[in-house]
Symmetry: C2
Subunit: 226 residues, 2 copies
DNA sequence: TTAATAATCAAACGATTATTTGACCATTTG
DNA sequence: CAAATGGTCAAATAATCGTTTGATTATTAA
């Protein structure tokens, strides 16, 4: 009986260790991080993480097995999403703990993701104030689907993918703040650089929608256009 | 340059994946869970997790490598502790997410850790109320070192290890609440059972010090007696 | 119906992991 | 000093993991 309960305790720890498994590979972390921006198909995830479909599928199998990610078949796609918002918050907590405990992470962030000219050190709340002032535009550089699923209120969507073509539609009469998927997002760097090269006064916010949401601020959704 | 930054992003994810590694084995989870109760030597941890010293040492090497656990040599012991309180909170968040997402975890908890006669469903705040009333004793079943490092205010320490010998010192004039290391703690079940077998009206609280702390309540420390 | 697409699977590989065993080193105690 | 204790290390093992390749299934489009 005592051994019985001990084995049950072990069973709980084994189930929870699947959560650890989910986060124990950089590729899977990337997948979780992308999914925290909204649902995606296996195909999209494979492309966005630069790996073969088979490899992505295998990682997603681990993630689904942990319970953190849910995959639902619809037509010939399997749409993957985080099981709920708390999964994204767990990822956020891990990231924050990383910056807190690991000097190496802080150094990389400082040296590569906080170029002072093109990046803004506004906090989430400070950014909200700034955006309320109507002195500036906020540009969401993520995909249309991510934007539709949820974005910072008042943000305009100019997906990085065809920013070069759509860039002329941005009126040059205000300051511009950009955001993409978060503090470690490469798209945010690239998009902001592109805007600045065209002479637009763009600055990159050092957070994304998950951080905005985690601060308790409201999120805006939009219906798909088509 | 673009590739350079991509490799830095990957470096961050690789560092964070060590956090995942830390939680990706039941044995290591057990170690983290024990360390969330206070510092312990490698030896103690090996004994408490029922594994060889070498095996425990190897697991602790992984944990130290992740940055979540710190080991400090003092005399001929290496004392291990969590890097800071947020590590314990991360573990708590994972556990809560597990109960939220995994029906299997909920079932085990319900069937094996919530026997209604001997366990109390008081929440942390409700328990605080009850303890303020002076109608009951609160008994901390953990080791003396854990108790000294931090315990619920007003709790008396009767370590499970020699509870059979010390049990007579408990006055039988009040209700008794017990706690040990948390909701999945075997010691809590065993100790409470022992008290009840001796006719004492003991009920097990379904939380421990980490949950108490996480609720923002004050913690009491005591100097070692010796 | 056929062709194309999305996803998984199966086999295979090299790399990594968990655990045991026994040796080893550092520190303290007798 | 020698003996005992606490901890790590090195080698060996069996098991598991990550990725590739190519085949296979399900669904949709032509």
């Amino acid at each position: 009986m005592k051994d019985d309960i001990a084995s049950k305790q072990k069973a709980i720890y084994t189930l929870l260790s699947k959560f650890g498994d989910a986060f124990s590979s950089p590729q899977r972390i990337k997948l979780i991080s992308l999914l925290s921006q909204g649902p995606k198909s296996v195909d999209q995830l494979a492309a966005m993480t630069q790996q073969s479909k088979a490899a992505a599928s295998a990682h997603l199998k681990v993630l689904r097995g942990s319970g953190l990610v849910i995959g639902e078949k619809s037509g010939r796609h399997v749409w993957c999403r985080l099981a709920n918002d708390n999964v994204g918050l767990l990822w956020l907590a891990m990231r924050n703990l990383g910056e807190e405990l690991l000097p190496e992470v802080r150094e990389i962030v400082r040296d590569y993701f906080e170029a002072p000219e093109s990046s803004s050190d506004l906090s989430v709340v400070a950014a909200k104030e700034e955006l309320n002032s109507d002195r500036s535009y906020l540009i969401d550089l993520r995909t249309a689907l991510e934007y539709e699923t949820g974005h910072i209120p008042s943000a305009l969507n100019f997906p990085l993918g065809n920013l070069e073509n759509s860039i002329e539609q941005i009126p040059p009469d205000r300051d511009i703040f950009t955001y993409c998927r978060g503090p470690y997002c490469l798209g945010a760097l690239e998009g902001t650089e592109l805007l600045r090269n065209r002479g637009l006064p763009a600055k990159r916010l050092r957070f994304g929608l998950p951080e905005w949401k985690a601060s308790g601020l409201a999120v805006e959704k939009s219906e798909p256009i088509e």
